[in-house]
Amino acid sequence: MTQDRPAEQYLLVETQSGGTAERFLADAAALAGAGERVRLFLAADGVALGIRGASAGLPQFLGAGGQAWIDEFTLAHRALHAAPLTPGVRATGMGDLADWLLEPGTRVVWH
């Protein structure tokens, strides 16, 4: 987590799946619903959440105005590159994550 000035946007990185990940997504949806700019990046085991129908919380997060990306490297690593993604989830690489991380005013939470 960052300790700089008040956040202008949130960057949430989910690397797990299961119950705690769903709670993380619920928090993300609450932030987005409150009008905050929230980016979610799914990596490692967290990519499972991005497969269509696998997560109840992800569509709610997207519906609340959040933006979600999924790590293309991990998808390929797990032979999921052709799997159907939840509508609204876009595949991207670590470069974009680095760009968002380095943006001033970004508050990062890594789960």
Partner: protein, 137 residues
């Protein structure tokens, strides 16, 4: 007038406590580090817990061969870390927590890493614009 010491500030600090070999955490951190470095920024990793064992010199340069591709050498984590430290000298740093390292009997680390007492963790965080904590308690 007393002299002041200018402290260096790093763009990103990753405190890595997630155990290696059980998840993708280490690989993800190394990929993130490379992406940050390719953008001309600075990053350092504070290796805690069993991550302190990754940079022991005794682990060598390569892992046992992948039997699906035995001709291609598979670098050890230590070799990958050394590669980043060499390629991005001065902009990447790998810090080994001395308490965690001693607790595990991990000695003789590769020369490129820094050893630092956990008493310096707060100062290390203070010297970073952004800190990411990855792992459990």
């Amino acid at each position: 007038m007393a002299a002041t010491v200018e402290r260096r500030t790093w763009d990103v600090l990753v405190v890595l406590t997630a155990p290696p070999h059980t998840t993708d955490a280490l690989t993800t951190v190394l990929r993130l580090a490379q992406a940050v470095l390719e953008r001309e920024h600075t990053i350092r990793v504070w290796a805690c817990g069993s991550n302190t064992m990754l940079t022991q010199a005794s682990l060598g340069e390569t892992k046992p061969a992948d039997l699906r591709d035995p001709a291609t050498p598979a670098p050890t984590a230590g070799a990958l870390i050394r590669g980043l430290l060499t390629a991005y000298k001065g902009r990447f740093s790998w810090i080994v927590c001395t308490a965690c390292s001693a607790e595990r009997g991990a000695r003789d680390h590769i020369a490129e890493v820094r050893l630092r007492s956990d008493a310096r963790l707060a100062a290390t965080i203070a010297a970073a614009r952004r800190t990411i904590y990855i792992g459990g308690a």
